[in-house]
């Protein structure tokens, strides 16, 4: 389908104007949101992720692609709400308390949204109480925690413990990431998974969903 290809290219090329225009035209032509998501957005963000892994794309290109994808998604969201269509999983993501670094988290959030997940981004410096409140209110399947400083990594354990104390721990899978974070640390604090990059996070969530 021509619109699918055009939207795919607009996202991969980081062209937000074109992505918006093509999506609008596709909606007017009667193409459903889930078709556009599955045939254009997800393949486009997978390609963007591949280019990032291959060190062909870098943070600017990722953010441009993410912006193009989000612009298209803004047009599709009301249609999905009206028709009751849902994305495959809901993810709450944030940088933990005390840590203001967010560019890595933003990239992961973009990749997840572009991969067809509903993403609730709590921002940076997010307290464990805020994560618990978000899980209670929005009932995600996944919680992704980011930290870029060794001094803020303990906030990851604090958050996991807070989820446990609130009786919510078994309702979510908690994934962790960030430059100083390791698989060993993830295991020590009782996280369900760790990824060292954005593409890995997408793949991990997909695998966990398949195994669910």
């Amino acid at each position: 389908m021509a619109q699918s290809r055009e939207l795919y290219e607009a996202i991969v090329n980081g062209d937000a104007k074109q992505a918006h225009a093509v999506t609008q035209a596709a909606i007017e032509a009667g193409i459903g949101p889930m078709t556009l998501i599955s045939e254009s957005m997800i393949p486009a963000m997978d390609e963007v992720g591949r280019l990032f892994e291959e060190e062909e794309y870098f943070v600017p290109e990722l953010l441009l692609a993410g912006r193009a994808m989000k612009g298209a998604m803004e047009l599709l969201r009301p249609l999905m709400t009206a028709s009751g269509e849902k994305l495959s999983a809901r993810v709450v993501i944030g940088t933990v308390k005390g840590d203001l670094h967010d560019i890595g988290k933003n990239i992961v959030a973009s990749m997840l949204e572009g991969s067809g997940f509903e993403v609730i981004d709590l921002g940076a410096d997010v307290s464990s109480e805020a994560f618990v409140a978000a899980v209670k209110e929005r009932k995600p399947q996944f919680v992704c925690l980011s930290a870029l400083l060794t001094v803020t990594m303990p906030s990851m354990k604090t958050t996991i413990d807070a989820l446990g104390n609130a009786g919510l721990r078994t309702q979510v899978k908690v994934l962790v990431g960030g430059a100083p974070v390791t698989m060993q640390y993830a295991n020590e604090i009782g996280a369900d998974g760790y990824s060292e990059n954005a593409s890995g996070a997408v793949g991990l969530i997909r695998r966990l969903l398949e195994g669910a």
């Binding site: 203001l100 060794t150 390791t182």
Partner: protein, 341 residues
């Protein structure tokens, strides 16, 4: 040789008595002195004491005034988030140039007077007075790209390269002028070398680095040299695709962070560039042992060849076991530089 003589020899390509050792310490040093990091970053006397105590305890060849990325931004009026015992951070939502039009109304200061930049300059003066005969003294500035990210917000800047390249050029002119002023005062106060921290440059890739970052970094390097200082380039993160450009700046030493392979750095930068690094501060240094660290340094020296200084790829993190830091220094003290092949 004193530490100062050792580093001067290493940087001049005159074989020192043994390898020089220049690990970056910030929170690690404040913990050695037993002070909260807030005191360290706000009072140059505390920073100087912590650096000297740390250098003497472990046998480093130098002391540094690196502390956090917010000194320049704070003095320009940026909103800073302060923490009791971790580095201060800039509030990106309230970045000084979140509104692009503000750039035209703000002037980079000609003189560094009052504020946090002066605090660093005074720290250098104090270190020169107390330790300058034995230890190499290091100043620090934010590089043009890093400072641009601090003032504009890093997420906005990453989009600006495509959305408004002319604005980026103007912004980098501003941050360059600021860095040159700051560096000049640090050199005048007694800094032997000025570290240029340009972490945001590792995020942009070779095309944007070549067009937007390298020309401004080059001007900064040349200005520091023209004012009698040496340059330590420090770009945190994965610099694998910009190594060649980094090597073409003419810096006296270039730190290689752990994601970039040291052998690639040597290949891209040639045999005469002094390199430092690149143990992983968490996985290799904090989580390792003296034995694993010694083995890792043996391998790194093979990859780096001659003109190499022992250091981790980035800052030593707090809670790094002291025995591991001693192991790094012991390696330096018991190994000589290789000859250039």
């Amino acid at each position: 040789m004193t530490g100062r003589e050792r580093i001067l020899a290493a940087l001049a390509g005159q074989k020192p008595d043994h390898l020089a050792c220049m690990p970056i310490t910030m929170t690690f040093a404040s913990d050695i002195l037993g002070v909260k990091y807030l005191h360290y970053v706000q009072d140059h006397k505390v920073m100087a004491e912590a650096q000297i105590r740390t250098a003497e305890m472990f046998g480093f060849d130098y002391v540094s005034t690196i502390s956090d990325p917010t000194r320049e931004a704070a003095d320009l009026g940026s909103n800073i988030q302060w923490y009791e015992d971790r580095p201060p951070a800039i509030l990106e939502d309230e970045a000084l140039f979140a509104d692009k039009s503000v750039l035209a109304r703000v002037k980079a200061p000609d003189r560094i007077a009052g504020g946090r930049m002066e605090d660093r300059v005074r720290g250098i003066g104090l270190l020169r007075e107390r330790a300058g005969s034995d230890l190499f003294i290091e100043g620090w500035v934010e590089g043009p790209c890093a400072e641009a990210a601090d003032l504009r917000g890093i997420n906005r800047l990453m989009l600006d390269f495509s959305d408004d390249p002319a604005f980026v050029h103007d912004l980098f002119d501003f941050t360059l002028a600021l860095a040159i002023s700051f560096a000049k005062e640090q050199i005048a106060a007694g800094a032997d070398i000025v570290g240029v921290g340009d972490a945001a440059a590792s995020l942009v890739g070779p095309r944007i680095y070549k067009e937007f970052v390298w020309p401004w970094e080059k001007q900064l390097v040349d200005a520091i040299h023209a004012n009698g200082g040496k340059v330590r380039l420090h770009i945190c993160g994965n610099t694998r695709r910009i190594l060649e450009g980094m090597g073409a700046l003419g810096c006296d030493m270039v730190d290689i962070d752990y994601p970039a392979p040291m052998d690639q750095a040597r290949l891209q930068m040639g045999p005469h560039q002094t390199l430092a690094g690149n143990l992983d501060p968490v996985r290799d240094v904090r989580n390792g042992s003296p034995e694993t660290i010694a083995k890792a340094l043996e391998a790194l020296q093979q990859q780096a060849g001659a003109r190499w200084i022992v250091a981790a790829g980035c800052e030593l993190v707090r809670d790094t076991p002291h025995q591991n830091v001693h192991a790094m220094v012991k390696f330096a003290q018991t190994h000589s530089e290789f000859a250039i092949a």
